[in-house]
Amino acid sequence: MSTATIVKLPPQETARLPKRSYLNNEYGLMSWLLTGDHKRIAILYLISITFFFFIGGAMAGLIRLELLTPQSDLMAADTYNKVFSMHGIIMVFLFLVPSVPATIGNFVLPIMVGAKDLAFPKINLLSWYLYIFAGCFTLAALVLGGVDTGWTFTTPLSTHYLNTHVITAGIGVFIAGFSSIFTGLNFIVTVHRMRAPGMTWFRLPLFVWSHYAASILMVLGTPVLAITLVLVILERAIGIGVFDPTKGGDPLLFQHLFWFYSHPAVYIMILPGMGVISEVISTFSRKRVFGYTAVAFSSVAIAVFGFFVWAHHMFIMGVSNYSALVFSLLTMLVAVPSAIKIFNWAATLYKGSITFETPMLYAFGFMGLFTIGGLTGVFLGSLGMDIHLTETYFIVAHFHFVMVGGMLMAYLAGIHFWWPKMTGRMYPEALSKLAALVTFIGFNLTFFPQFVLGYLGMPRRYAAYPPEFQVLNVLSTAGATVLGIGYLLPMLYMTWSLKYGKIAGSNPWQATGLEWQIQSPPLTENFVETPIVDHEAYDYEWLAHKTQHEVQTVG
């Protein structure tokens, strides 16, 4: 790894954090709990999401511990079922869906478009409270004895054959859904109505485009999940028979309704991460993103196509051959925009001036792991291949590659990238690079063996398995240990950096976005004067000119 860097910090002996910022604008717990400031809300989300991430991660640890041995010997079968259900519910609804949008998106999106805040600050705060409320319900389900439906709440198992806290968990997910809907609504309206003068759509950073696309999915898809959960809860509570075959209902209807949201949900999860990658790769190659228009439109294409592929989760469930064909074809089509992005990002590196700071390392990790994850999605979209691979560990590996290898790496890239902006301080570079490396290695060791396990036929959600699968499972658990360390390290050094990190200044990365032209941490109102935008996104020539100009006037 080269020692070259683009980081330009103010001289540390004299550097101070700005006297006035959003952090010290007001004091007291109530000023945080009743804030309308999108930046403070982002910090609130950051803390709560991290909390739930570690609970979900603990569940993952338990899963991998159980799977060290072929027998179901660490915990009771029911307990294991509750553990993986909790892992899924928490990680999907309380971590991945809000991760980038609610923390990074909330923080930087208004600044990126040149606004003082999101369109509806109070709704933003409401979103956070709904999230907390949802988290409470989910924790309640956990503490009261758990729920063991899997994160997919499949009927008729969830409605008639379990006596665990399905309704509590269902309500938690329902509320989390509305938190997500309000965030998405806020973003869409903000991007439409709050852009600064001169900030046309095609001057927006690609981060904004990807959040816009994800917000469309949030706003249109999540309500369907909400109503599906309502029907499941009603069926469980009073026995209406909408999904019950003995009463004339159809359990497959639940699958259609559930996956109608849950497929777009995965694009809700990944698109914001892709936005982060665009920003990071551009900054650390000192270059505009190659094919800006293609990348922008590919985000929208993913969102649109993403609504039409849900039944690829149901290929073997008795959908007609005709609909299987249609959904497989559309699945192949939805894979193409993601490929376009990967190639555009790679092309951005061409003739760039590349440095390898931590966010860039995570971005590289993303590119490799998301490529694998995405390509294995093509495996699964292929009908005949899916028959053998579905419902096995191949699926588990596939979605962990895209969600963890892809999305979580992008989230960490984003957190590291915007940390100086959010806190005014730099994290320790050497340690963060180590953590990135450890995470990458741990991740591959954990999840690559699972592809092999899947092809061998090991089913998912199994606590016990045939002994010949043990070696691979042990490898996977070993990797999980390493991965856990990789995730724990940032917790430690980021917290350390709050007090002891180097002062970052307004633009340590010398990046082009509007957020880097204001102080770190920003003022509550973001801008002293409303910016007027007259340059493209990622305009490094403009940045160079501006920096020169500054040097001249300040002298």
Binding site: I518, E525, T530
Partner: protein, 246 residues
């Protein structure tokens, strides 16, 4: 070192005291604030369409599969109640629209009057609905809790043209009623929320909040109220008017 904004626009501070008190500071103009709030409400209503859409989808599928059961179930509903409710809601949309107009022309007493009428009409709707639900409970048409198919396997004196259903099709009426309660229940929930908000708006309007030129809240709530009305306009024929042409 900390560069400020790129701006060349005059600082907002100079106009600071020239704007109305209801202009939120993250908006540049009142116009922007109004348009943004309106956009937000329309988008929210779009999510509501998707929300109800799931149930409409389920309804369409099951009505296609179990049509005779849906006919029999629908004939059990009291059409006078449904019709009256439809009229009540349409009137309440009218009173709501008049209330928005009153806010526009800044007539506080008119606004209060129209809001009160809307609340009354909304409450009448809920009352009739409650009566219907009670009636269905009495007749054992509540799925899961006390459902009985005997009404469907015997001749209905009110619908002599209807043949009694065979037991297996009669069982499917439970699906019809499941959807009936889910859909009207969800609609009623939205009505209750609407009436509650209306009460708050009424109190605020009493204090003069919406007749000083800033009536965005009333306007946008009006959108919500009309939406809830439109959902009912769809629910009424789908649930009450199946094969009633006799």
């Amino acid at each position: 070192m900390d560069s400020q904004a790129i701006a060349t626009q005059p600082a907002h501070g100079q106009e600071e005291h020239g704007h109305p008190p209801y202009l939120r500071h993250h908006f540049a103009t009142v116009e922007q604030q109004r348009e943004t709030a309106s956009f937000g409400m329309w988008l929210f209503l779009l999510t509501e369409i998707m929300f109800f859409g799931g149930m409409f989808t389920a309804y369409m599928i099951y009505r296609n599969w179990y049509y005779p059961a849906f006919v029999a179930g629908s004939h059990q509903l009291k059409i006078w109640a449904g019709t009256m409710n439809t009229a009540v809601l349409i009137c309440s949309s009218f009173t709501m629209a008049m209330g928005v107009h009153a806010a526009e022309i800044r007539k506080r007493s008119a606004l209060l009057r129209w809001l009160t009428l809307t609340i009354l009409l909304g409450t009448v709707f809920l009352g009739i609905k409650a009566y219907e639900w009670h009636d269905e409970w009495v007749h054992h048409h509540v799925p899961g809790l006390n459902f009985s198919i005997s009404d469907f396997t015997h001749v209905d004196p009110h619908y002599l043209a209807d043949k009694p259903l065979p037991p297996d099709m009669a069982e499917k009426t439970q699906v019809y009623f499941s959807l009936y309660f889910a859909m009207t229940g969800m609609h009623a929930l939205h009505m209750i929320i609407g009436v509650s908000i209306l009460l708050i708006l009424l109190v605020k309007a009493w204090g003069g909040a919406y007749t000083t030129g800033h009536m965005t809240t009333i306007e946008n709530f009006g959108l919500y109220w009309h939406f809830v009305d439109i959902v009912w306009i769809f629910l009424f024929p789908l649930l009450y008017l199946i094969s009633r042409h006799q």
